[in-house]
Symmetry: C2
């Protein structure tokens, strides 16, 4: 049957966009690279699966928080490079502030 425990909802809603924005704020990157970065930095704790990643990237484009252009990777492949925009940086800052506030609040509850 291979029922696989399926660790549902590994990432809190809205967090993926924040992590993507943060990642491309360090420099333009393609989707595959973003996924690798997230996995590498978190030692595999977090992973951006394709089914979440690409829709999230599309949302960021639609909202104007990122731009994309096709270009060659160092290894000679075509890939879509995403870059953060000014509004993306604003959004990132806002999301991080929200996240930290909620995170602090949860921390306070768990300490009690």
């Amino acid at each position: 049957m291979a029922t696989t425990k399926t660790p549902r909802q590994e990432l809190p809603n809205g967090t993926l966009e924040m992590l993507i924005l943060k990642t491309i704020s360090l420099g333009a990157m393609h989707g595959y690279g973003i996924a690798q970065h997230i996995q590498r930095v978190t030692d595999g704790v977090l992973s951006a699966e394709q089914g979440s990643l690409y829709p999230a990237l599309e949302r960021l484009l639609n909202k104007g928080h990122a731009t994309a252009k096709w270009a060659q990777t160092p290894t000679g492949r075509q890939a879509r490079f995403y870059a953060i925009t000014a509004s993306g940086r604003k959004q990132l800052a806002a999301r991080v502030a929200d996240y930290e506030q909620v995170s602090l609040a949860i921390g306070r509850l768990l300490e009690a």
Copy 2:
């Protein structure tokens, strides 16, 4: 239009159950009291709305993580008091561990 910004998804999925478990781990409490506790401790940053709270309490009952019985409040009202079970404490510990791992991972990404 009154489009109301509606701060969607204030609480990450699954977190509410953890916060409820934590709250009733300090002593049996009724739903209204749980909501107040969460709001008070977090200075209003977090709030467990009825539409989220009561379904979450039902889920905890169904899973055996909590038990409930009707009793009188100090002010002479009928209320349903929820108490944590042994499996609830286990679940709480597991959730907290998960939360902290993810929290750390996100922190690492945001620091970079």
